[in-house]
Every structure is written in structure tokens, then in C-alpha cells.
Symmetry: C2
């Protein structure tokens, strides 16, 4: 099969790879859509030291399955990306998503979705309603990640919220927050992101709007860049909460004393509930129409990644034309 | 009166200063004991850009008071260190301790306790029981700060806790945690701190005990140095909590992506409840006897600060001999 592969030097190329089969007790999924995420861009900068096929946001059709999971064959699915052992201390105390020996689709010791096929255990899969087209369903994984924020932080109608980063993830987080009854301010550097936020009904501001400093109870960093944290730290009120969604390669300079003096809480936030995400997307309460940048075949991966670097959601259609 | 003063260049010297009076609607307190805290050492490194008289852990006797507060005269007291306006957004949402225009005894725009006298509003004062001697009561402020941890983070008998830093503050935090029914591990670099922790009944470890990595639900940074955060990040389990108590000057390199991937919560923690601290010290549930390093007159401030740099609690007795 055709697949994009990150090699030891960190370079990305299109290669021929063995198609996965169902002998590993996993379902084999033909990938019909796969989105490029900020984390994929960071992988190419060296984040997580990943080698293999990247891509963890996908939609596909189950083509083969182990004997006990054959009912999945033919179903259109999305998939949770972490496979844990279920045995270790981390699995027991923090859940399989935090397993010490976990593999993660396209991020850690497991091939991902920028290929014609991938494999995953049936327990990771969620069947999609027919009403949800591929170019919407490909947002299930990042929308679930956005939903994780409101699992971790209590939001009520009085909570003053801001989302820093008017990109792929930020515009999902803002919509998930709105679904909880608040009206987050969307703070972004780029005019285009802010204009899409406006079209989605949000108030917007640039990151240097100093009048907003120390004004928000909850501020979410969805910038995908190392400067996001400092912007959030300016916006959050004393005793407020910063939620981190960006996985940025490398280290960031942080004035830890400011967190102490202002008693700020910082919450790292990763993967979230797929069922809730599917429902939000299917009902239209999260609208991803303005977030689709363009759709590419795998062959045009260089242009696709270039576009994703400064644009919104770029989608591969690896096996659409088979 | 005699007072230690930090000047514009950051240098500390003993000077003659005007004694405060009660015309500012504040009580005038003769300082009988004042402790050197890690924050005082950081002030001398430039933290907070403070100029004036440092010192914020004190015991004293009210010598003068405004007309409406004359009942305080003659009482032996400790004092909460922050004076807020009560009007601004931060006062309303986060409490006076976080006032935008606050003054803080010996830290921010207000003279502190390394002097024969200081002044504070009566509303900041707590009367001391006679049973609590000065060299114990001088620990009320840092013990209150230690108590703040358990106001912010839920601790039950199953919570696995570690305190990083076996110094002045760490040994208070460990005892406050123990009072909540847990047995924290005390992690420290210095043999002396660990040995005092052992004498107080705690298990101890050195910071490089890699077997302990990712093993604790709650890890408190009480190191007072910029390397404390990384040590805490190694010890905390996925989805666990790091509580920051150190106010360190400057910036620290933090791998923010690790907080995201492991969904760590970081909680900045500052001042705490004086009543609870007085009760813990008076009942002996927090034992500070092994924490007293030595007691100095103001004149020996150079030796006092040198001792505090590597030792436990150094106490000034500014007006003891009057």
C-alpha cells in the first residue's frame, strides 16, 4: 500500500509499505479521510521522536477483522488513538490512555492514518452515523480532544472563557465551550482565523489586546506554538485556570513564580470522548464547514503539509479512489 | 528605629529608619521575632524588584493603634501579609490576597519585619495564645502557606503524596499533609534535611531515586529553586497534580508538551489560613523544634542570611532586647 513515512532523519516521503492484516487481533481499516493536525507538524520538527506512518485523525471502512470482531467488517468508523496494556500502574490509576507502554496511532510506536490502510483493536472503534460525511467525521478526534477541556474544568454560564489560537483546534474548542452555555472570546494572531471565528458567531481579539489582561476565569491554549502559554498567562485572572492543548516540541520559558503568586492552575489536556464529539458534529452544534482547507491525495503530501502549516484543516483521501 | 533595607541596587544594609505610627489607620507592632524565608533570599537575587525593608514572617506586640482598634494594644500577634483594596475585579473574583493594587509585607510596596517595628491594619492581625512561644509562632505564616496546599488539592487517606524539598517549607508541608491522614515521602538533595525529615517520622528519598518516577498523585515543589519543577514532573503520575510553592526569580525551562500528554495539573499556591496554622502549631501536630537554625540580632544580618542560604529557619529578634 502507499503510505507517508517519517524516517530516522525526520524526513517525510511517500513509500510502499506492507498492508496490515487481521492476524494481530486488530481490525484492518481502509482510510477514506485523514486530517493533518498540529501534532503532525510538530512530529516533523522532531516532537516525540516518531518514526513510521504519521496521522491520527481518520475515517475509514473496516475491511477485515479477527474472528471475534467480524461484525465490524463493512462499517464506517473513527478510532480512538491510544492502545494501552490495561495492566500497568498508569492504566489502573489514570486510564489506558496513559499506559506506560501504550502505542498511539501515528504518534508513538504505531503506524498511523496517512496510508491506504491502518489497523486498530475493535475496542478503539466507533461506528459513524450515515448522516456524518467523511470530511466532517475526520474532525471527530480533534473535537473529542476539545470536549476533554470541559470534562476537566467546570464551566457554567458565568465562566468567562477565552480560547487563544483561532486555528483548527481553537475553533473546535470555542464551539465546544459555547455548547456549555458560555461565549468564549477567540484570541488569534491571524486575520483569517479571527474572521472565521466571527463567521461562527464569536467575538475576537488579537493577542496584544492588553485591556483583556487578567480578565478570564478559564483560558485555553490552542495555539500549537510555544508563545501560546505566555498569551494565556496574560489573559487569565488570579486563581484562574489555563488549559493546555498544544503539544509543542522542545521547552518553553515559564515564569513559575507568577503561577504561584497569582495561584494559577494549569491543566494539561489531551484526548477526549468520541461519543460526545460524534453527537456534537452530527447535530451541527459544532460546525466544521469553514474549517476545511483542502483535500489532497497522498501523492501531493508536500503541498498538503505546506498548506497545513499556515492554514486550517488539510485532509488526505488516501483510499478514496480505490 | 533600626531596620534592614534593600536599596535600588539590590544591596542589603542596616539603616536608621523612621518608626511607623498609627496615623496611617494601621497598628504599630514591635517585632519580637522575624523569620528568613526562601522568598527573602530570592528578593536579594532581584525577585519582585523590591526596595525597602524585607521580612514577612513575624511575631510582635501591638504598641499603638488607631482609635477604633485600641483593643489590640498590648496583644501579641502574627499578621497576614497582604493588604488589598477590596474594590477591584481581582479582589471581587479571587479575594483581597490577589488585589491588583495590593501591598505585601516586605515583598511589595510595603515595609516588612526585619526592623524594630512595622505597621499593619488590625484586620490583618491574629492574636496568639500564650502557650505559643515566639520561636514557634514565627512559623505561623509559612505553616499557613503550607495549609493552603490542602485547601486547593483534595487529599484523602489513599492519596500518594511527595514533597520535594526537605527545607524550611517542605518540612512544614509534609507535616500538614500528614495531618490530613497521608504519609508523604520527603524528597531532598541534602542529607541534613532528610535526616530531620526522618526524625519527624517521614520516609525520605534523594531526588534521583528513579524508581519513584510517575508514582505519586500529588507532588509539592517546596525546593525554592528552579530545578524543583523538573523533579516534581518526574515523580507525578499521569493525571496527577504538582503544587508549586516556590517563588523563584527568573524563568524556568518547562516541557509543556509533557504536561499535555500526561494531563498533569499544576497548581500555584501562595498564602493560607492563619487560624488553622496557629492551631496546628499550638497542638504540636506541626512540630517546628527541629527547624529552628539559629536566632540573630539585626546587626548580624550578613551571617544570618549566609546561614539561611543553606540552613533551616533563621530568626531575627529585632526588638527582643529593648
Amino acid at each position: 500500500m502507499r503510505a507517508l513515512v517519517i524516517d530516522r532523519t525526520g524526513a517525510l516521503s511517500l513509500r510502499d509499505r506492507h498492508k496490515p492484516d487481521a492476524t494481530r487481533k486488530e481490525c484492518v481499516i481502509r482510510v477514506t479521510a485523514a486530517g493533518i493536525c498540529g501534532t503532525d507538524l510538530e512530529l516533523l520538527r522532531g516532537y516525540a521522536g516518531f518514526e513510521g506512518i504519521p496521522g491520527h485523525e481518520f475515517v475509514g471502512i473496516v475491511e477485515d477483522a479477527p474472528a471475534e470482531d467480524r461484525r465490524w467488517i463493512g462499517r464506517r468508523v473513527v478510532g480512538e488513538i491510544t492502545v494501552g496494556c490495561g495492566q500497568c500502574a498508569a492504566c489502573r490509576t489514570a486510564g489506558r490512555g496513559h499506559c506506560d507502554v501504550r502505542t498511539v496511532v501515528g504518534i508513538r510506536s504505531r503506524d498511523g492514518a496517512f496510508a491506504e490502510y491502518l489497523s486498530l483493536p475493535a475496542s478503539n472503534l466507533h461506528a459513524l452515523p450515515e448522516s456524518l460525511p467523511d470530511d466532517t467525521a475526520v474532525f471527530v478526534e480533534p473535537t473529542a480532544a476539545a470536549c476533554r477541556v470541559v470534562e476537566q474544568v467546570e464551566i457554567d454560564s458565568h465562566t468567562r472563557t477565552a480560547v487563544v489560537g483561532a486555528g483548527r483546534l481553537g475553533l473546535l474548542v470555542a464551539q465546544v465551550l459555547r455548547d456549555c452555555g458560555v461565549r468564549p472570546l477567540v484570541v488569534g494572531r491571524g486575520e483569517r482565523g479571527r474572521s472565521i471565528a466571527t463567521s461562527l458567531g464569536f467575538d475576537t481579539a488579537t493577542t496584544d489586546a492588553s485591556a483583556l489582561s487578567r480578565a478570564f476565569d478559564v483560558v485555553v491554549d490552542a495555539t500549537g506554538n510555544p508563545h501560546g502559554f505566555a498569551a494565556c498567562a496574560r489573559l487569565v485572572r488570579p486563581r484562574g485556570t489555563i488549559v493546555l492543548k498544544s503539544t509543542v516540541h522542545g521547552e518553553t520559558q515559564v515564569k513559575l513564580a507568577n503561577l504561584v503568586v497569582d495561584e494559577i492552575t494549569v491543566v494539561g489536556s489531551r484526548c477526549g470522548p468520541f461519543d460526545r464529539a460524534i453527537e456534537l458534529l452530527d447535530s451541527g452544534r459544532v460546525d466544521v464547514t469553514p474549517l476545511v482547507e483542502s483535500i489532497y491525495p497522498l501523492e501531493q503530501f508536500r503541498e498538503a503539509f505546506r498548506t497545513a502549516e499556515h492554514g486550517l484543516k488539510v485532509i488526505f483521501a488516501p483510499a478514496q479512489l480505490d
